[in-house]
């Protein structure tokens, strides 16, 4: 089975933008091992595209941020991670786009800019 067909199978595994478990098991039963690996890779890729990964420094803002982001990204599943080393701010990863608004990153960028002047 060629790659394009496997990708089509992975796309068809979704019903109303949600992964349909019955379809996934049905397809998995008929695929060969090598094709199954590709199928799983495509499913992971589609899941990544439909997931928004948000990192916050504390848990206190999770509710408010979830409400705001649900309006901006209505069709995406939002997953939260807590990372205190961020100090403040937010990091949003939308598949391959990273929106970095953390204080830690800002300080690191400032340091890079200052040190590069002395090269």
């Amino acid at each position: 089975m060629n790659k394009r067909l496997i990708k089509k199978l992975a796309e068809d595994s979704y019903s109303k933008e949600k992964l349909d478990r019955r379809k996934v098991f049905a397809f998995a039963r008929v695929l060969r091992r090598r094709d199954l690996r590709k199928y799983i890779r495509f499913l992971k890729n589609f899941e990544d595209r439909m997931t928004l990964r948000v990192t916050l420094p504390t848990e206190t803002e999770v509710g408010r941020v979830r409400r705001r982001l649900s309006k901006i990204f209505p069709n995406k599943k939002i997953v939260f991670t807590i990372d205190p080393t961020m100090l403040a701010g937010i990091r949003v990863i939308d598949y391959d786009n990273v929106y970095e608004l953390s204080l830690k990153n800002s300080l690191e960028t400032a340091l890079d800019q200052i040190t590069s002047r002395y090269d």
């Binding site: 990708k7 495509f42 391959d96 990273v98 608004l101 800019q113």
Partner: protein, 508 residues
């Protein structure tokens, strides 16, 4: 010397003035790491030829954009990159830091020093890939680039801005011609020279490190390293660095050309460059064509060599002269890569193994070698003196084959044969012994005007050396006259005849 307090004050000032800004990155995730090529998903905004950076600081270049992933060739160590690692776009095309500080240094294709000396300070960032200057920006090639090798300067003169291929089997002296040309440029550093000094760049592609060290040693011993730059991607470097090396060398050359200088660049050798590109293309699963080379193998070299130009005065008047080297197998110049590069360049110097084995060194085949720029790149002096030499040698080659039949020869044929033997002998030259033009002219004038007809062939070499010493010691004024490059006047010819007659009386 900056004081500690100043550094702290500047850091505090920088932090106070800083404004926090959101950063947007486009990233990818490593899916596969095979043979120095990384496949990554994501990177949807990456462009072809863009530099990307991995988590461990290693850089890569995007070479394939597929529907579901991008293929990246690594420019460093591959072993530390694993599946799931993050790779991010830099938004920059691959470029190299170029400045005057590069003179006398040995660097890799990324601009990092390899000679153990100080880090090179930031200069201009020159892109490795660039579109060649257009027709309007160019000027015809009419200024000589003197190699110091009699056979080349007399019969296949190279001009500044020309591309002249050096082609032959292994071990015939291709790199030696390039090194002798580098060494000869020390004569143009003098303020009395009419021609501009030349910056020399040696690009070592796929050579052994011991060979590169040997070349650097020779340049240093002959005071040529101070105006030279070596860009080295040895055989132990990844294929990606070997692929980028000639482009890095050309980017550095463009920096100096942009400042109005004349540059000489040697690519040693483009055969290994083609091999490294073939390796990369096969790993990237690009369709293989003839001899397993990818379909754009011609474009690989054409876009490189087209950047060697002579610019007009409006654009600075600088030039890049390229001497690409191609290694053949069994003297076969009709193979794929040699024919490609021959069709791109403005001539070739063909070295032949049977000439080399019979003692003719440099082993240049006069019949198949050519310089398409020709006399435009020669001084009037050399043009006048060496004009008929190529024809005489071609006739000699024909007659030499004919004379092997053993039949009796007429006097004209015998004379032509004897003259040819002496011409061939005078064109022999030792390695690392380039000659200045006045001495080249002395030798060529002597043989083309029959002054060596009465000297035995075995003594021609000694005659030439002693004659040069004699003129240098007793008639330095004639050297000054010949240095002007102007056509030989009647008076100068008569003077030369007087000098050689006088010398012959004392020569044994």
């Amino acid at each position: 010397m900056i004081r500690e307090e100043d550094i702290i004050t500047k850091l505090e000032k920088g932090l106070m003035q800083w404004r926090g800004e959101a950063k947007t990155l486009n990233i990818g995730i490593v899916e596969r790491n095979t043979d120095g090529v990384i496949q990554a998903t994501g990177l949807s905004k990456a462009v072809m030829g863009e530099r990307v950076e991995f988590e461990n600081g290693v850089s890569g270049v995007v070479l394939n954009l597929d529907e579901d992933f991008v293929s990246i060739i690594l420019l460093g160590e591959a072993s530390s990159i694993k599946e799931g690692d993050i790779v991010k776009r830099t938004g920059e095309m691959l470029s190299i830091n170029a400045s005057e500080e590069l003179l006398g240094r040995i660097v890799d294709p990324l601009g990092e020093p390899l000679d153990g000396k100080a880090k090179i300070k930031k200069g201009s960032l020159m892109p490795l890939e660039k579109i060649a200057p257009g027709v309007v920006e160019r000027e015809p090639v009419n200024t000589p680039l003197k190699t110091g090798i009699k056979a080349i300067d007399a019969m296949f003169p190279i001009g500044r801005g020309q591309r002249e291929l050096i082609i032959g089997d292994r071990g015939l002296g291709k790199s030696a011609i390039a090194i002798d040309t580098f060494i000869n440029q020390r004569n143009f550093k003098k303020s009395t020279s009419k021609l501009k000094p030349v910056v020399c760049i040696y690009v070592a592609i796929g050579l052994k490190r011991s060979t590169i060290a040997q070349i650097v040693g020779k340049l240093k011993d002959n005071d040529a390293l101070e105006y030279s730059i070596v860009v080295a991607a040895s055989s132990s470097e990844p294929a990606s660095l070997q692929y980028l090396a000639p482009y890095a060398g050309t980017a550095i050359a463009e920096y100096f050309m942009g400042n109005g200088k004349d540059v000489l660049i040697v690519h040693d050798d483009l055969t290994k460059h083609a091999w490294s590109y073939r390796q990369i293309s096969l790993v990237l699963k690009r369709p293989a064509g003839r001899e397993a080379y990818p379909g754009d193998i011609f474009y690989l070299h054409s876009r490189l060599l087209e950047r060697s130009v002579r610019l007009n005065s409006k654009h600075g008047g600088g030039s890049i002269t390229a001497l690409p080297i191609i290694e053949t197998q069994a003297n076969d110049i009709s193979a794929y890569i040699p024919t490609n590069v021959i069709s791109i360049t403005d001539g070739q110097i063909y070295l032949q193994s049977d000439l080399y084995n019979s003692g003719v060194r440099p082993a240049i085949n006069v019949g198949t070698s050519v310089s398409r720029v020709g006399g435009s790149a020669q001084s009037p002096l050399m043009k006048g003196v060496a004009g008929k030499m190529k024809l005489e040698l071609a006739q000699f080659a024909e007659l030499a084959a004919f004379s092997q039949f053993g039949s009796e020869l007429d006097s004209a044929t015998s004379a032509a044969l004897e003259r040819g033997k002496r011409t061939q002998e005078i064109l022999k030259q030792g390695q690392y012994q380039p000659l200045e033009e006045p001495y080249e002219v002395l030798s060529i004038w002597a043989v083309t005007n029959g002054h060596l007809d009465d000297i035995s062939v075995e003594k021609i070499g000694k005659f030439e050396r002693d004659f040069h010493q004699f003129v240098k010691r007793n008639n330095p004024k004639i050297i000054t006259v010949l240095s002007s490059g102007d056509k030989l006047s009647e008076a100068t010819s008569k003077e030369l005849e007087k000098i050689i007659t006088q010398f012959k009386k004392s020569f044994k």
